[in-house]
């Protein structure tokens, strides 16, 4: 270890807020939701004619103009139903009052609508001058709403953690890829599955539930607690290599899974046209899907995104 690296590590470990993270050399953001939303946004449409308004785009796939929102909605109203908001929660419950977050008062709450098969997402779109490894770390917990005062463990379908990544347009053969992880908590019929999966296939749509492959050794009983209002904060970390388009590592709550050198790519022509106007986009996506008519909640106390590699 170089002297510079030793000093950097000592400084990180002495910092009460960063000591519990293991960031790479450059911290792109260190978001503590006691300080606000920090640039996280809900999932909403592009209105550009792909998945949200089929048939709008001409065969060339080039962006001519973004469709006026009102027209897009009129043509495909189902695409815009089931909205849910992201919000800052103090984890306030009927039996304990406000609990607060792991490290402060507020956490980011990502909620699914109260309808089976729906989803809630938070996304943050950044870019980065260091084009090598990219690491996501967070402290999170999850619950189903409990209007019936039941535990609701089986109501949570899945937790989603991923990146939607686009090369710099000037790169050789620039493309888009989506390294994603899913914790499949329970099947739609309520059977607990509790398994980590990844997007290693081509052509899947992580945020709509297709293209998932079990990760070897990925069975994992993430703590949910025996009470619907008791929260246990969990750590997650995963890393990908932006230059090589490869997964590097994955760790969550004591379990390291081997994803090294696994890749993700889309079939030629599919999705890649999205590169246009999004050169070098690093889109960080986290979400929760529900099995039932109860809202399911993913809570984030804090998130650190870091990178290392050469500048580009």
């Amino acid at each position: 270890m170089t002297e510079t690296e030793a000093i950097r590590r000592a400084l990180l470990r002495a910092d009460p807020k960063l000591s519990r993270f293991d960031p790479l050399e450059r911290i792109i953001f260190a978001d503590d939701f006691d300080e606000g939303l920090n640039g996280w946004a809900p999932l909403y449409a592009d209105y550009d004619g792909f998945d949200d308004t089929p048939g709008w785009r001409d065969a060339s796939g080039r962006i001519g103009e973004v469709k006026p929102v009102a027209i897009a909605r009129r043509e495909n109203p189902a695409r815009f139903e089931d909205r849910s908001q992201i919000m800052l929660t103090s984890l306030s419950t009927w039996d304990a009052g406000s609990i607060g977050s792991s490290n402060g008062t507020y956490a980011l709450k990502v909620a699914s609508p109260p309808k089976p098969g729906t989803r809630g997402y938070a996304l943050k779109r950044v870019s980065c001058p260091w084009w090598g490894k990219l690491r996501f770390e967070a402290y999170f917990t999850f619950k189903a709403d409990h209007p019936d005062y039941r535990l609701g463990h089986e109501d949570v379908h899945s937790l989603i953690f991923g990146y939607d990544l686009q090369d710099f347009e000037e790169a050789e053969n620039p493309t888009r890829w989506r390294p994603f992880f899913r914790y499949l908590n329970a099947a739609p019929d309520g059977t607990l599955v509790q398994r980590w999966q990844g997007q290693f296939d081509t052509g899947g749509d992580a945020m709509r539930g297709s293209g998932w492959t079990d990760i070897e050794g990925g069975y994992h009983e993430l703590p949910y607690n025996r009470s619907p209002t008791k929260y246990q904060w969990l750590y997650i970390r995963y890393t990908v290599d932006l230059a090589k388009h490869e997964y590097v590592d994955f760790f969550c709550h004591g379990k390291e899974l081997n994803v090294k050198r696994k890749t993700h790519s889309f079939p030629e022509g599919q999705w890649q046209r999205h590169l246009e106007k999004c050169s070098g986009l690093l889109n960080v996506d986290i979400g929760i899907h529900t099995n039932s008519d109860k809202r399911c909640f993913l809570f984030l106390d804090s998130i650190v995104l870091s990178a290392e590699g050469s500048e580009r």
Partner: protein, 128 residues
């Protein structure tokens, strides 16, 4: 060091069609000391030709009644401020303070028939 106050806008309902009633997603806004509900009524049923109500003698126009509700536990709700009855398209606002943490909007219609409905967009705008 001085710091600017937090402000946050939430887009809650998007071209939502109200036929009988609605309740918005419970929103936690404990960090904010003031909130405004913006209710943009994009479309309202056409007013019928006035026909006197048998009991009151007044004509019943289609109306949308919107009010805010607050809650300590996110499940038992108490009425707070309300808007006057809305019977035509237009932009309306409800200003709130001292609402605690949990907030939602509820709405009910009256005097609608058949497929008649209101179309609304609602936003919360919160400030620290």
């Amino acid at each position: 060091m001085s710091r600017l106050r937090h402000v946050q806008t939430a887009f809650v309902q998007d071209q939502f069609q109200v036929r009988t009633s609605f309740e918005t997603e419970p929103y936690e806004a404990g960090w904010a000391s003031e909130a405004i509900a913006f209710v943009y009524v994009r479309a309202a049923p056409a007013a019928p030709v006035p026909a006197p109500d048998a009991n009151t003698g007044f004509a019943v126009r289609p109306a949308l009644w919107v009010r805010a509700q607050i809650s300590a536990d996110g499940r038992r709700w108490i009425d707070d401020e309300r808007l006057p009855g809305i019977s035509q398209a237009g932009n309306y606002r409800l200003r709130l303070t001292h609402f605690g943490n949990w907030l939602r909007l509820v709405g009910e219609t009256e005097g609608l028939s058949g497929d008649e409905h209101f179309v609304i967009d609602t936003y919360w705008v919160f400030k620290e």
